[in-house]
């Protein structure tokens, strides 16, 4: 048995851990609860886009952190992508669009606990307003 839960949202500043809490048309889907039968997160799918690439050099690594009282071993933080953009005029494209991947993981969770998803761009030059989409699979 497994279930997939998705959240999405933007980050506004570099080196700032930002909660990813919305779900498209569902603006407030609420806290993520670990299903009563689940003991692991086995997959994390992450996409990163950028809706307002700036007219300046930009580059950053992207991190995702999973936290909450449903995490048996506490916060888990991993890299999920990176980008650079060297933009000087309007109309240039932003990040290359390849930051989309499925990650097999092995993370213990507590049934009925809560899980929070966070994203951030590391120290660098924020190229715009990166948008994260994060899906986790409980099993």
């Amino acid at each position: 048995m497994s279930t997939f839960i998705h959240r999405e949202g933007p980050i506004a500043a570099g080196d700032t851990r930002t909660a990813i809490v919305t779900q498209g048309a569902t603006a407030a889907p609420g806290v993520i609860k670990v299903p009563p039968w689940a003991h692991k997160i086995v997959t994390v799918i992450v996409g990163v886009g950028d809706n307002t690439p700036a007219a300046a050099d930009g580059g950053m690594n992207f991190l995702v952190t999973i936290s909450g009282d449903g995490m048996v071993e506490g916060d888990q933080t991993f890299v999920v992508g990176a980008c650079y953009a060297d933009l000087t005029t309007a109309g240039d494209t932003g990040m290359g669009g390849r930051i989309y991947d499925s990650h097999d993981v092995d993370i213990d969770v507590e049934p009925n606990g809560t899980v929070n998803l966070y994203a951030e761009a590391t120290l660098g030059v924020l190229s715009g307003l990166p948008e994260f989409g994060i899906t986790i699979q409980f099993q």
Binding site: N61, L63, V72, A82, M95, L123
Partner: protein
């Protein structure tokens, strides 16, 4: 069950190891501390980026693990490359997903492990390198991760890769306890692209292997840059699992570009060695 921890930070000059001490908004966390009751790193995830890309610059990106938490000493990896030739300074952009290696790194619970990054080649600015260690309670066998790198300019010409970031070491010496290569890591980067050029990169392993010479494709490059154009981008190291037997003598790694001369690529190779 696994634990995921990350360190990241910016590089400085080319060919210098820099400690990765930060974790985004958490600031300076310094070294990893091996989690209690954990005995190995079973995966490493890497990303790197370029906040201030320079013209006609680039190279490969490397990571070193060092510290008393490593049961078999320092471990070295080539993780990717960047190349850039821009004359018009417009619109280059690229993105990457993590480079992931399956590894067997035995660690000592509670020990300290520092992660270092380095850009090797022509200083491309201040690339930022991030490393995620995936800790496991499983034990790991004896393994050594070694690497060599060098620029290889001439077309269809083998260049002996002799360097490890800041030190010329020559061929890869084999520890008496090592009898096999379990995986090979290869990458190319650091190009100085000319108009309408491109081709593929190759790593050759000569000497020291009972099965004889081994050769691997390690990347490709294409450019149609003009006076106002831009070309460049990421390349990513690939891990090729293998089962090659060693003679005990040193291994000579070579890099070579083929196709239409696409400048001065830097080649990097890594080997996973063990009993």
């Amino acid at each position: 069950m696994a634990i995921y921890e990350t360190r990241e930070g910016p590089m400085a000059a080319a060919n210098v190891w820099v400690a990765l001490t930060q974790c985004g908004s958490q600031g300076a966390l310094n070294a990893f501390s091996v989690p209690a009751r954990h005995n190995s790193i079973k995966e490493l995830w890497f990303t790197f980026t370029e906040p201030v890309p320079a013209d006609s610059a680039g190279g490969i990106v490397c990571v070193k693990l060092s510290g008393g938490g490593l049961r078999y000493g320092e471990q070295y990896f080539v993780i990717g490359g960047q190349g850039r030739e821009e004359t018009g300074n417009s619109g280059a952009a690229d993105g990457m997903v993590p480079v992931k290696f399956k590894v067997n790194i035995a660690v000592i619970s509670g020990g300290e492990i520092w992660a270092y990054g380095a850009q090797y080649g022509t200083d491309s600015g201040t690339p930022e390198v991030a490393v995620t260690a995936v800790w496991s309670k499983e034990s790991a066998p004896e393994r050594y991760y070694v690497a060599r790198m060098l620029a290889a300019g001439a077309l269809d010409t083998d260049t002996l890769l002799t360097t490890l970031v800041d030190t010329v070491l020559g061929a890869i010496a084999i520890s008496p306890s090592c009898h096999k290569i379990y995986s090979v890591f290869g990458v190319q980067g650091g190009i100085t692209l000319a108009t309408a050029t491109g081709g593929t990169g190759m790593i050759r392993l000569r000497n020291g292997i009972k099965e004889g010479e081994q050769s691997f494709c390690v990347g490709a490059q294409a450019s149609l840059s003009t006076t106002t154009g831009v070309s460049g981008g990421y390349s990513f190291a690939k891990q090729t699992m293998c089962d090659l037997n060693l003679t005990g003598g040193p291994i000579s790694p070579y890099g070579c570009q083929s196709g239409v001369d696409w400048g001065t690529p830097v080649f990097g190779v890594g080997l996973e060695l063990g009993p």
